[in-house]
Symmetry: C3
Subunit: 426 residues, 3 copies
């Protein structure tokens, strides 16, 4: 069996060629492939539906697009790379010279071999993206045939949703966007990790219920929020997943609250990971945390990523390709998120039942660590810290942070003390 | 027309020769010259009046003073430099030898060419200040004629006051001391900047009312406070102006509250000024902020200065002269204070009217910046920050500080959003 | 008369040879010697008494112990060094070969000349501690005679207690452990400093009542806490004394509260001491602060030490001997603690009776410092700070910390202002 990193990379490779957008067949095909892996439900929301301050747009579909020279050669070809068409371009079929065409062409002069990714969701227009090198080859007095065989019609916005019920109806929200076409890190890595996360959590006992959203960016999150006001009060923690396959260190962006349990849990796990990582404050741009953390919702939803939104050269270009994402990075992202979820699942606040003086620990049959001297010492410290801070004001995560011990050590100490009746749930 | 820095310097030059004190003709003459520029009212408070814990002293006036040698030469001459007489010296006319005279002579041995500035307001005495060089020239067995032609009689303490009414009766207090004789930075620079500030604010629409005080140090502020208890609850912000013409970077000394809006506004403006500057905590010595920030009033009044109270060699010496203050420094001080006042005038707290999710900004006719790409990006960020933090808990200044954006950018974003009805005043 | 450091060292030297434990004759003898110096009362608590979660153990006594070779030479001899016997060893008399004996021998291979200190209070066993060098001299096929002439029988746990009543029934607790045998720093230095502290405080007027505890570690503190629940609410401040004679800088370990007055007072004194020192946060291991700061009591009790619990090579070894503790270090520890107690005794919160504006200080007969210019300036600043911050919200210690002035300067200023009726107790 392949290791988990390669499994994740395989799913990314399968999804990569599809021309996704915020609506349409490519989006639906993507969700169908996800549904082969985990039992998401597909939601279809008609064009024109009001969602908070937004209106669901018409559905966009595309079959083909090209720029041909007078010899009929496809110089720019949608079938080779779907980034070549400005996403949501209206249909066009025309002949024109370079001067006129140029207003519809987009390149990246600072990276002459790369093709940019562009969209025009909410303003009708059309255009092609190509490399600066390709642009340079076009000639001024040539007659070009331009075709975008697309359609923009009333239809539906589609998104996928999966609820894994837990012991509690309190929910953990996991959200990723599914609207970017052939971009591997910014979109597909988040999808792949979310799918695997859902599969793993689906097979384990869960304290919390987990809700996975596979939504078109912005409009998808907005639409879900508009349709689920009754769910929102149950959301205790949340994560937006994006850009999890590149080789940058993991960055966690805090929720707008700044000190939510998810914020402290993620910071804790990263601090004890032994890897370079970063924790940054919330800001109101980036991915769908913008919506979940808008002031009217203010949900405890953070964002986990490696390379940062807009902060790497390959961002929104053809260079964000299958080589840019690595199995090891995907696997590490997944395991980090699982470690954070483990903290959320296990974190509780207990009361020391013998708070006056220390209990005579030698009299209790406390589970002894099988570890070495240093580990046994850490286990003993953890027992003392848990007893000392279990005054009803400190959760295990807060105790771990205060004592600068790994959460697992503190949690194990608490379970030992619970077993001998020295602790009680608050 | 002269630039503003030179205008300010001209006023300083005109006021420089006058022998000011905490009472008397020089003080009155100074206030009359100010009244030529802005419509201050002069208040006269009789000697003996109780003001809080203080008593208004007798009025001091001086016509002439000298030390003559036996040949009748004026070796120390009040008419050449009014600092030569200890301010508030009682009258004396006597002959004495150097040994006796020396007890009444004050010099600065570490700066042998400079004459110190000394006062004896609340203890009857007399004395002369002279340079160490001048002192060295006096001879032990010479007979000196000493004369101070002063008077100390019941009269009045005088101060100037100007109220510029605004839309609100809430007030901004601007206070400077007017009691130092020929000292250019420590006194006259503050006066000149305050006069110009009053002129400019007098010509513009004002949210707040502005109250300018031109008061003798300590006793003047104490007297005003004693007579205006009913005004005090209306004071929302305040500044003491002093030492604004030298070439040190601007220092803002916080109010006793430490986090008043004036404190945050001044720190914000300095942080974004691109100039070296400093913000320091309140301490209970310095200028009249001591009185405004005494615990029974605890007003939100900070102090703006360049060189600091007692912290520069020229402090309270003849070297604090017309060369020590520079037009450019005066102009920069003025413009900084105006920028701070602009923040106070414009700072408000708004509510996002569509707090759930982001509004679909593309559907609104938002004023577009005419600036470059970077400026447009900053304007867009400002829109998002204002929407995200306009939950009724954050003023525009707090949003600007949180987002690390200039106040003006945030304020413009708020006005744009207000115009399209996405914001409402709290 | 000897200086105080040597007096303290003399007491340590006298106590050093005694074989102390958590019960028994050596402990009693130690307390009797302390009682020669200060009028402590001895408490005897029967074996088997329940104390919080603990049970007072049987009383341990020992007369002699040795390991003899077949020639009858005492190779390991309790009479030469009482650390040679594992404290609380049960009696044994047997002959055995090295292989069997080795399971009962403890050395410190990393310090081959030192003998470790070991205990087995709550688990019946026996053993010898010896140097690695001594161990190396034992031979495999030699027949050794082993004897521990000890007894473990129902008896008593003994501790000493002294209450020095003060003006208030509010108490300062001073606690040290008295259960370690021949260890000079870890035990005897704390005892010696506590004895001298009690003698000095016994001769002075006291605002607070002072309670000195000389208790066996852990079980002694637990027993006292169990028997004195009615006293506990009166404890305002407390200190555990330990390891005060070595040459490390002084370290203060904060109480669990972290910002108790004792914590701020100790940090203040150390900050102004001109010596290297350290202040560290509470953690739930170390000395009896563990018990006083358990969550059910959470007393404001810190711990003062030089070398830190478990943090120096000599810790719990024969190298913690009479050479390891120095008269100068003992004297400095004592004077530092006295300075902290002076802060506690003098710290109060006053109200400025003329809080509006500054009082006209020149009109009051304020005590003038006899010091130099810099000291007089500091005294004047202290007057201004005390007036400005005596709003009922700031104690003198808080004012001193805020103004970065020594407590004594601030306290003297307050007393001056109190004398002229400008302050009043809150």
């Amino acid at each position: 069996m392949k290791d988990i990193g390669h499994q994740l990379h395989d799913l990314i490779r399968r999804l990569y060629p599809i021309c996704r957008s915020i609506t349409g067949a490519g989006l639906r095909e993507t969700l169908h492939i996800i549904r082969e892996q985990i039992p998401i439900e597909l939601r279809e929301v008609p064009s024109g539906t009001q969602a908070l301050d937004w209106i669901v747009p018409r559905e966009w579909n595309i079959r083909d697009a090209w720029i041909k020279n007078s010899a009929g050669d496809r110089l720019v070809d949608f079938r080779k790379l779907n980034l070549h068409v400005v996403n949501y371009s209206v249909p066009i079929k025309a002949r024109m010279q370079l001067a006129e065409l140029k207003e519809h062409l987009f390149t990246l002069p600072e990276h002459p071999e790369w093709v940019p990714y562009r969209t025009s969701y909410y303003k009708e227009s059309w255009g092609f993206c190509l490399s600066e090198q390709e642009l340079q080859r076009l000639r001024a007095n040539e007659d070009y045939e331009v075709c975008i065989d697309s359609s923009l019609k009333d239809g539906y916005l589609t998104y996928g949703e999966l609820l894994l019920p837990g012991d509690s109806t309190e929910e953990v929200l996991v959200s990723c966007h599914v609207c970017h076409p052939s971009l591997a890190d910014d979109n597909l890595s988040g999808i792949a990790v979310a799918v695997e996360l859902a599969r793993i959590l689906g097979q384990t006992a869960r304290r919390y219920s987990y809700r996975f959203l596979f939504v078109p960016g912005t409009i998808g999150a907005i639409t879900w929020l508009a349709r689920n006001e009754q769910v929102i009060p149950r959301i205790r923690h949340g994560l937006v997943l994006t850009c999890l396959g590149d080789q940058s260190p993991i960055t966690y962006k805090r929720s707008r609250r700044g000190n939510a349990e998810i914020d402290r849990a993620f910071a804790h796990v990263l601090r004890h990971s032994g890897q370079r990582s970063d924790v940054i404050d919330f800001f109101p741009y980036g991915y769908d945390e913008r919506q979940y953390c808008s002031p009217g919702f203010n949900l405890p939803v953070g964002c986990v990523m490696r390379a940062r939104h807009g902060g790497f050269p390959e961002y929104h270009t053809s260079a964000d390709n299958l080589d840019f994402v690595r199995p090891e990075a995907l696997a590490e992202s997944l395991s980090t998120i699982l470690a954070v979820i483990d903290v959320l699942e296990q974190n509780r606040t207990y009361l020391n039942r013998k708070p006056k003086g220390e209990p005579q620990l030698g009299r209790y049959d406390l589970i002894k660590s099988a570890g070495n001297e240093k580990e046994r010492r850490m286990d003993e410290l953890a027992l003392l810290w848990v007893l000392n801070l279990s005054d009803g004001e400190h959760s295990l995560l807060e105790i771990a942070d205060h004592a600068n011990l790994p959460f697992a050590t503190v949690k194990d100490a608490a379970l030992s003390l619970l077993a001998v009746n020295l602790l009680t749930p608050r």
